[in-house]
Each structure stands twice: as structure tokens, then as C-alpha cells.
Amino acid sequence: MKNTLTTHPEAGPRETLENAFSCGLETAWSRLEEQEPQCGFGTLGLCCRICRMGPCRIDPFGDGPKTGVCGATADIITARNLIRMIAAGSAAHSDHGRDIAHSLLIAARGEATDYTIKDEEKLKNIAGEIGIEVKGKDIRQLAEEVAEKLLAEFGRQDGELLFTKRAPEKRQKLWREEGLIPRGIDREIVEIMHRTLMGVDNDAENLIRQGVRASLGDGWGGSMIATELSDVLFKLPQPIRAQVNLGVLREDEVNIVVHGHEPTLSEIIVAAARDPELLKLAEEKGARGINLAGICCTANEILMRHGIPIAGNFLQQELAITTGAVELMLVDVQCIMPSLGSLCQCFHTKLVSTSPKARFPFAEHIEFKEEEALSIGRRIVRMAIENFPNRKKEKVSIPSKYISGVVAGFTPENVYQFLGGKYRGTYRPLNDAIISGRIRGAAGLVGCNNAQMGHDASHVQMARELIRHDVLVVATGCSAIGLAKAGLMQPESALKQAGRGLREVCEAVGLPPVLHLGSCVDCSRILVTLCNILKEGGLGDDLSDLPVAGAAPEWMSEKAVAIGFYFVASGVQTIISPSFPVEGADGTLELITRGLEKIVGAGFEFEDDPIKGAHLIIKHLDKKRAALKLAPMMYDLAPSALTLKNKDVEKKKR
């Protein structure tokens, strides 16, 4: 096995992987080996397949062609391709948001009776915010109006998206002046597709600006709508204890794994799995109960709201099946490997696809409809139970020692209470801690796993180095799951690894040093949190003044590109690894690093070493602290062992 197979010690069970390998089963890692070496033109972003005069390639060494057949340079090609990635990522998040808004609409109209409005207070707050009169309306009427108004955001043609008003005045003004405020969620995505067509927009900066605008339509539009309305429909998460990693699968219970992204279905499965009739059936089939576990972001959604355990993140979807203990894996959309079906053929596991948008080889398709949600949910759970007797004992190997505790379910709303107490919620203690130099600042760790890199290794190493240097870490998506597996979201053990200042603050208010903020659409929660911190005062008057940064240290999905861009466009410096496929074009590279910084006050940095990445963040936070004239860090730290080691290595290289 090659080094690409390295997983972080707490990340996941190597044994399961080795087991799969020795059985001759394919996984993402073995398929990567088949793919290697991967194409250098693609890695550098120097190929273009947009029109059929191509495919064209630019020679990065300068001996061969410098432009495509149409005359497009490396800068044009990379900029076009990069913003197409933004279009895809924004489309995915936003379509998820659209589905949630649609569910709320039909629930409000009484067409989907299995859904109720669980968080009336949040609904009223949103209604007030977007200019809907709350008084004298019953909750269903209000929900209908909110859903309709937010659904209209997708097809809006002009003006400014409603939630962009949440951003600080100064940021809104900057966006307005630079022409970056999204006019409509769908419109900006469509415009990317138009502009990148052969022979339309051929100016790298103009292209990137449109990418920025579409990404803002995701962060402050589609994703934010997904988060806000999920809270309305399924309740605002509250801090909750749960368990993570493949060890959550149970040998004596029916294991159902939900995988994908949209909570509309997984919420119903949670309800169906608690149905007494089905529990009785499970008992009849010889199981001690029904064990629900999640993978990827749908896991984060039900973890945050119900404490349902997480089986793993993106790269563990195949490993879950190879435990031989999963009766049924249920998938909807996004990040679902097409390999799952054929892997299920080697076990008794049933793969069930549910979205009309996403079908998979060897999967049984049971289409999900909100109108019949619970009966479909029950049917799927029943199918899993009936599959339990088919489980082959000799094939079962659950890596039970891989399990960690996690405290999840933080939101911008409940962090208020954590910091200020139940009756006078406030961000003041956090701002004070930053101002006085106990906490250096905050970093958002987001994004995927990537088989090209050690599984979770970058997330974990980066987070450890950050909290050691008194940086509060917030995480979403697969990054959050990776950090949870490493025990960084368990206050008891994690605080030991935190710097003294951060530890003091976290102990005082009862928070872990790494906060789980939810799924990938919940990156919008990070934006809202930053706005709240800014409003509390004392840390500047724009998001780009705050000592905060973002990182996607193991990204692979186009969704991460969209998130990265709306972070940067909101003024948050962001560290990316592996680099975006633009390295072959100096102009585009310059544009998205230093160029964007000039326009929006933040840019991208590419760094593959997670420790060096963490120090880029620390350096950035220190720069922002200095600009705000904040107190020096209260307990400054000797350079870490890890950084020392890196320096030694560098010296040796010289």
C-alpha cells in the first residue's frame, strides 16, 4: 500500500481499509493508485474542453502552445474553469436550499403533514428581518409567506438578495460599489455559464468577479436559506453529546446509515426508526434495536438536532459498507460515491437512492416525496430490518475501538447564551477575550476529505496547532467530523491541547475549543457569527477587520470552491489545500491571491503543509490584531515542537 493510504491515527480504522484491500475490494484509495500519476495539465488547470475546436492544452514549460485554438491564454482558461466550479458548487448548495424552502412551503400549506414548524421563534425573527408583518398571522400563514418570499430569491432578477443585508454596512457598500452584490441566486449561476461559453467573457478579472458574485449568492443566499429554514422546519440545534466514528455501528442491532446532505429525509428516518411497531419487528428478526448512523452532512444535520451518532466522513462511506454490518445505506444527493452499489454487492447491504436528481448503479430507487414522507421512511426502515437476517456473521468486522465523544450543535444563536448566560445573551465575553489577548482570533475549518491526502490528517494537525496558539476553531462538514473523531470537540480532552488563554475562556463558559457548527451549508452560520461578533463592537467595522481566517485543507468538491470564494468575498482570508487548479496561470493566481485582497480585503493562500497553513492563519490574525491595536497575546507561546521540527527539516534541506 502506498502512502496515500495513510490515515490520521484517530481518523479511521486502517484495519478496515486493509481488510477491504486484502479481500480485493476497491476503495477510493485503490482507485487513486490506478489513476496515478494524474494528469499534470488538469492539475495546473491548463486544459480547456469548453468548445469542440479543442480539447486544448497550454504548455506550462513554454515550449509548446501558449493559447488554445480560439486564442484563450492560460489565464482565461483557468479563470473560466474556476468560476464554472463556483457555479457548480453554488448550484448544489442553493438547490439544497431551494428544496428546504419548498418543503417549508408545502408543510405550511398542509400538503406535507409529516412536517411541522418546530421553531416558531426563529420563523418570526426571519419574517421580521425580511419585511413580513408577523402580527395577527397564524404560524402556518407566516411560514407560507416566508417560504414564498425566500423561494423568490432564487428567481430574482434585480436588486440585492435579502440576506446580504445581514452583512455590515461597510461590506454591503463595498460589494455595491464593486458590483458584487448578487441580484438573484440562480441568475448569477446562469450568468457564469453564459460568460464562460466560447467567445463571451475573456478577461480573467471580469470572470473572477462574476464568480465572486455567484458565490455570494450561495453564502448569503442559497446556503443561508438552507440553514435558516432547516432550523425553522426541524428546530434550532442545541448543544448535544454524541459519538463519532465507525465504532458507532452495532453488532446486535439493525444498522441504517443515512448518507448525503438534505435533512428532509433523514429527519423522517429518525422518526421512523423510533416507531414502536418497527422496533418490535426488529426484535422479531433477532436484532436488539435499530441503530441509525450518519455519513457526511446529512449526518451533521441529525447529529446537531437529535444526537444521532456519526459513522464517518466522506472517505469512510465505503468503509462503512465493508464492516459488513450495515443493513441499508440510504443516499440522497452530493458526495455519494458511484462505487457504493458495486461494493454493496459483496455484502448484504442494500443501497437505496431517494432523490429524483441522483441515481446510482446497483441501487434500489425509492423516490422520496415530502407529501408521503413518513410512510416512505417507514418503508425504508422496514426494508433494513427485513435485511437483518441476511447479515453474514463471518463478514462482520466493526472497528469498535474507533469511537469518540463529541459535543455538537452550536449556532450563532445559542453561542449568545453560552457566552452571556440564558437571560442576557451576548457575545461580549468572546470579544473581550479577543481584545484582551486571551484568544488570538478564530478560524473556520471547512471542506472535504481528499484521497490524495492523508485522511483527516491536515484538518486535525491544523486545528491542533491553531488551538495551541489560542485560536478558537469552528468547523463544519467533513472537517467537523474529522475533528470530532480526533476528540477535539470533547471539552475534557480537547482543552488540554489548547493554549492557556483559550483554555481559560472555554473553561469559564463551558465550550470545547473546537465548535461544531453543522453541515456544509451551515458555513453560512460562520458568516452570521462573524457579523454578530462585529456588531458586539471593539473589533473594527468590517468583516475584513476581524482577526479571523478560513481553511479548507483537504478539499475536493466544487462546493468547497464556492465556500472559499464567499469567505474571501466576505473579507475572510482563506487557506486552501490542494491548490485550486490555476497554478499554471500566473495572472489568475495573482488575481485570486493578492488581486482579490485589493478588491475585497482578503484573498486565498495555498499551502499543503497543515502546520505551515496554521501559521499562515496565525500570522494573518496577528496582522489583523496589530491593525486593530489590540493588546499583545496574554500568554505567548514558545514555537511548537512541530514547527521546530519543520524548521529543522528546512535547515537540513539547505
Partner: protein
């Protein structure tokens, strides 16, 4: 001694061998850094198209090598193991070998002061690895095999 075999039918003209060759002959041996090196590393294999067929072409390491015969400085040597090696330090850049080579696979370097040619990835061979172009080929159009295994 193993030799390079090219299966023209399998070559899709992706130029991956060229990139891998340049990276292998760069200082950093990393694609992302090699593209910024000065002078650029340059590649010793090139994908050429003739009459609709496309394939990679690099030094054939001829037994009776014209380039070795014309080299006035002794920079080009037919080694005992088989490959024709270039001693860069001895090359005066007269380009006679470029003219003499019947396959056109010896190139002038970027500064025109010396030539560059395929060395079958000498360092890789010492580590018992196949040449970079061979491992880079996604369709296995390039193979590095013992002469007796060459199929007609």
C-alpha cells in the same frame, strides 16, 4: 537491458509523457515548482503526429549512433549498458548531433549552449524504476520491457 516500446495505436496524444519528462529533469522534481524554474527544465520526449497517427518520440539509443560518431567533444557516449548518455559538462553546443540524429530527438537547450536528450531517466533506472514517461502514460502506450518481450 530493457528498452522503450511505443504502441502507436494506444497513444491518445495527451502529452503527459512530456510533462513527466520535464518534471523528472527539473531541479525540484515537483510539477508546481518545475513550471517556474529558470531555465525551464525542457522535455526530452515529444508527442508528434504523422499522417493521422500520433505517438511519443524520444532517443532510440542506437547501437551505431550517428550522434556519438559526430560529437567532437566526446560528450555523447554509447554506454556499455546500452543507453546513449550525454555528459552535459563536455557539450560545447555545436549542434552537430542535432543535425546528425535521424529521428530528430536531440534538442538544443533553451540557452542554445548545449543539447538535451533522453537519458532514459538515469536516476530512476538506478532505483530500478521505469522512466518517467512510461509511468506517466495513462494508456500504457509506452512500455519499458526486455527486448525478448517485444512483440511484433
Amino acid at each position: 537491458m530493457k528498452m522503450l516500446q511505443i504502441d502507436i495505436a494506444r497513444c491518445l496524444g495527451c502529452h503527459s509523457c512530456e510533462l513527466a519528462c520535464a518534471v523528472e529533469h527539473s531541479r525540484s522534481k515537483l510539477l508546481s515548482e518545475a513550471i517556474n524554474e529558470s531555465p525551464p527544465p525542457g522535455y526530452r520526449v515529444s508527442v508528434i503526429g504523422v499522417d493521422g497517427a500520433v505517438g511519443p518520440l524520444q532517443c532510440r539509443h542506437c547501437d551505431d549512433a550517428a550522434c556519438v560518431m559526430v560529437c567532437p567533444s566526446g560528450a555523447l557516449v554509447k554506454s556499455e549498458e546500452g543507453p546513449v548518455f550525454l555528459n552535459h559538462a563536455l557539450c560545447v553546443g555545436c549542434q552537430l548531433c542535432v543535425i546528425a540524429c535521424p529521428f530528430g530527438v536531440i534538442y538544443s537547450d533553451r540557452e542554445g549552449k548545449a543539447v538535451i536528450k533522453c537519458d532514459l531517466c538515469r536516476e530512476r533506472l538506478e532505483r530500478e524504476e521505469d522512466p518517467a514517461c512510461v509511468t506517466a502514460c495513462p494508456t500504457k502506450a509506452l512500455r519499458f520491457i526486455e527486448p525478448e518481450n517485444v512483440k511484433e
